[in-house]
C-alpha cells in the first residue's frame, strides 16, 4: 500500500521507509517561524537555539503595537534576533501576516516541514509543505531543539474537476467543502485532480489556510506547473516534492465539481455544516464588511474588490475595512491603483496586520453588529463582542455587499 502526500513527506523527514495513519513520528523542522505574540507573553530568551538559519521572526498580529504589552513583545523580539543573528526578521515596515510573508519569501518549500505559532500555518500546504500551527510552548521547544513529533492522522483526498467559474474563488470552494462534509478533526486533507490547474495559487492558499476551521491537521496540495512557476518567481528551487502514490490509502476520496460552484456564505458561529450558496442566504443588513487576513488579504483579493468597487460607493451605514496581507501586497496594490479605488469608494485601508480578523485591534465589532468578513474565522466573539454576528464570504461577495449594504451575489453587480 502506498502513501498519501503528507505520509510520504513525514516518512522522508523522519528518515523511515513508510508511515501510516496511527504512527507517531519524530521529525526535524526545516523552518521555525515565530510571531510577535510569542514575545509578548512571558518570553524568556533561550540560552541557545538549534539553528538561526532555520528561524524567521514575523511581526504581524499586533502591529504597530496597540498596547504596552505588545510594544514590550516587540522589544523582546528585536533583542532576540539581534542576539542570535536571525537574518529573516520581518519587522514593522517590511512585515506582513506571517503566512503571506512565508509565501513571498520562499520560506515554505515543497516536501519540507514548516512550523509557526499561528493556527493558520496549514496555509503553506498550498506549496506542498508539511505545515502546522503549533502552540507557543511547542514553538519554543522547536526553536531550541530543531525537532518535534507528529501523530499521523488518516487523509481525506479532494478531487477537483471542471473549471473555476468567474466570481467564484478559493473561499467558495472551501465553504462548499465545509458546508458539505463538515469537520475534519484528526484528519489530513489533500487536494488534487484535473480541476486544480484552474485554481490559482492565491485560491489554493485560501483553501489550505482554512483547513484549521474544520479542525484538520495538515492540508496539502501537489506540485504542478502552476506551483512550480510560483516558486520559481520566489527563488525556490532544488526541492523534492511529496507526491501521493497511486495506491495511497485514503479515509475517503471526495469530488468537487468546480463548474457548478456558486459563491458561498457561512452563517455565524462556524463554517462546518453552516454555509449556503449566496442565492440561499437571508437578506441581512451589514454594519461592517472586512476584506483581509492571511486567507483573503492577498493581492488578487484586493484586485477583485477594486474591480467591483470601481466607480461605486460603500453603502451608507456600512464600514468597509481593507487590510492587505503584507506590506508588499500594500505597495503592489498601491502601484496598481487598487488602494486609490478602494479609498475613493469609501473603504478604510489599514496597514497589514492580523488585527480585525482576531478581534484584537483595528475593526473590533460592537454588540448587535453584523459583519460580513472574508477573513479566516467566524466563531462567536471572534471579532469582538460575543453579541455580534459574523458571516463569512469571498472578497468579491464582501465588496458587492459593501456596495448594497446587505449580503449580495457579486455576479449581480458584474
Amino acid at each position: 500500500m502506498g502513501m498519501t502526500m503528507i505520509e510520504k513527506l513525514l516518512a522522508r523527514k523522519a528518515g523511515i521507509p513508510r508511515v501510516q495513519a496511527g504512527d507517531t513520528v519524530v521529525v526535524d523542522v526545516d523552518m521555525c517561524v515565530l510571531i510577535d505574540l510569542q514575545f509578548a507573553t512571558t518570553w524568556v530568551q533561550p540560552v541557545r537555539i538549534a539553528d538561526p538559519e532555520r528561524v524567521a521572526v514575523v511581526m504581524d498580529h499586533a502591529v504597530p503595537a496597540p498596547s504596552l504589552k505588545d510594544a514590550t513583545g516587540g522589544t523582546h523580539a528585536r533583542a532576540f534576533v539581534k542576539e542570535f543573528g536571525i537574518e529573516r526578521f520581518y519587522d514593522v515596515g517590511r512585515h506582513g501576516i506571517c503566512h503571506e510573508v512565508i509565501a513571498e519569501n520562499g520560506l515554505a518549500r515543497p516536501g519540507e516541514i514548516l512550523a509557526c505559532t499561528d493556527s493558520h500555518t496549514c496555509a503553506a500546504g498550498a506549496y506542498n509543505t508539511g505545515a502546522r500551527g503549533l502552540g507557543p510552548v511547542e514553538m519554543y521547544a522547536i526553536l531550541c531543539t530543531g525537532s518535534t513529533w507528529f501523530q499521523v492522522s488518516p487523509t481525506v483526498r479532494y478531487e477537483l474537476t471542471g473549471r473555476l467559474p468567474g466570481y467564484v474563488s478559493g473561499k467558495d470552494i472551501f465553504l462548499h467543502i465545509a458546508a458539505t462534509w463538515g469537520d475534519a478533526t484528526n484528519q489530513n486533507l489533500e487536494y488534487g485532480g484535473p480541476g486544480l490547474a484552474s485554481v490559482p495559487m492565491n485560491d489554493r492558499r485560501t483553501i489550505a489556510t482554512q483547513g484549521a476551521e474544520i479542525s484538520a491537521d495538515f492540508s496539502t496540495f501537489g506540485v504542478d506547473d502552476v506551483l512550480r512557476s510560483f516558486l520559481a518567481e520566489r527563488g525556490v528551487t532544488g526541492f523534492e516534492a511529496a507526491d501521493a502514490d497511486p495506491d495511497a490509502a485514503y479515509l475517503d476520496v471526495r469530488t468537487v465539481d468546480l463548474d457548478g460552484l456558486e459563491p458561498y456564505v457561512a452563517r455565524p458561529g462556524t463554517v462546518s455544516g453552516n454555509a449556503v450558496p449566496v442565492s440561499d442566504i437571508e437578506h441581512r443588513r451589514l454594519d461592517q464588511a472586512f476584506i483581509g487576513s492571511c486567507a483573503n488579504g492577498q493581492l488578487e483579493d484586493l484586485r477583485i474588490a477594486a474591480e467591483i468597487l470601481d466607480g461605486r460607493t460603500v453603502a451608507p451605514g456600512v464600514r468597509l475595512l481593507v487590510t492587505p496581507a503584507s506590506q508588499q501586497v500594500y505597495r503592489e496594490a498601491m502601484k496598481a491603483g487598487y488602494l486609490q479605488i478602494l479609498a475613493d469608494a469609501g473603504a478604510v485601508v489599514t496597514n497589514s496586520t492580523c488585527g480585525a480578523c482576531f478581534g484584537y485591534h483595528m475593526g473590533v465589532l460592537g454588540p448587535g453588529e453584523v459583519c460580513l468578513t472574508s477573513s479566516t474565522r467566524n466563531f462567536t466573539g471572534r471579532m469582538g463582542s460575543t453579541e455580534a454576528e459574523i458571516f463569512m464570504a469571498a472578497p468579491a461577495t464582501v465588496a458587492a455587499s459593501a456596495v448594497t449594504g446587505y449580503i449580495t451575489d457579486p455576479r449581480s453587480l458584474a
Binding site: V44, S119, L134, N186, R377, F379, G381
Partner: protein
C-alpha cells in the same frame, strides 16, 4: 527516564461539543496576564464557572474540543487548577498544547454521557483506564503514546528544556523547583 504519572481523581465538569478557543481565551483576554485571562474562560458558554472551579477538578468535553487558535488555553486551565482534560475528540493543536503544558489529556468515547456534572472521575493516562466513582462504571481506552507520557510526566516541555540547559539558570531553577508555573 519518564517519571511515573499517577491516576488522577477529581470532580467532573461536563461541557458540550466544538468548544472553540475564542470561547476559552477571547482576544480581549490576550491583553491581560495569564492569571487574569484565566477568569474569562467559558465566560459566555457558562458564565461564572471560573468562580466555581476548584483545584483538582477535571474538565470533560465532547467532540472537536479546542478547535481554533494556537493560544495556550491549557495554561489557563492550569491557572484555574484543572488537573486533567477528558474529551470525546480533541482538536490536535489543542491536544498538543495540553501535552506540552504538562496537562494530562485523554480521549474517551462517549465521555459526556459517561460522566455528569459533579461526578467523581478517575483517569490513568498510562493504562487508559477511566472510571466514574459516582456511578461505579469503569472502562478502558487507548493509553497515551510513550513519547507523550514522557512529556506529561516531566511536567511539560519547558522543564525538559530547562533540564537540557536551553533556559537561563535562574528561570530553569524556578521551573524545576515547581515555582515557575507562571512562566508557562
Amino acid at each position: 527516564m519518564t517519571p511515573s504519572i499517577q491516576p488522577i481523581t477529581g470532580r467532573a465538569w461536563v461541557f458540550g461539543d466544538a468548544l472553540n478557543t475564542d470561547a476559552m481565551y477571547p482576544a480581549h483576554a490576550m491583553k491581560l496576564d495569564l492569571a487574569e485571562a484565566a477568569k474569562h474562560v467559558f465566560a459566555q458558554v457558562r458564565p461564572g464557572w471560573t468562580d466555581l472551579v476548584r483545584p483538582g477538578d477535571i474538565l470533560v468535553a465532547g467532540k472537536n474540543f479546542g478547535v481554533g487558535s494556537s493560544r495556550p488555553v491549557p495554561t489557563l486551565f492550569q491557572h484555574l487548577g484543572i488537573a486533567a482534560l477528558i474529551a470525546e475528540e480533541f482538536n490536535s493543536l489543542f491536544l498538543r498544547n495540553a501535552i506540552n503544558a504538562g496537562l494530562p489529556a485523554l480521549t474517551v468515547p462517549r465521555a459526556t454521557t459517561f460522566f455528569s456534572d459533579g461526578d467523581i472521575a478517575t483517569l490513568d493516562v498510562t493504562t487508559g483506564r477511566y472510571a466514574n466513582q459516582t456511578t461505579g462504571a469503569e472502562e478502558r481506552t487507548a493509553p497515551l503514546p510513550d513519547l507523550v507520557l514522557d512529556i506529561i510526566g516531566n511536567g511539560g516541555v519547558l522543564p525538559m528544556l530547562a533540564r537540557a540547559g536551553y533556559l537561563p539558570e535562574a528561570v530553569a531553577g524556578l521551573l524545576l523547583s515547581g515555582a515557575g508555573g507562571g512562566l508557562r
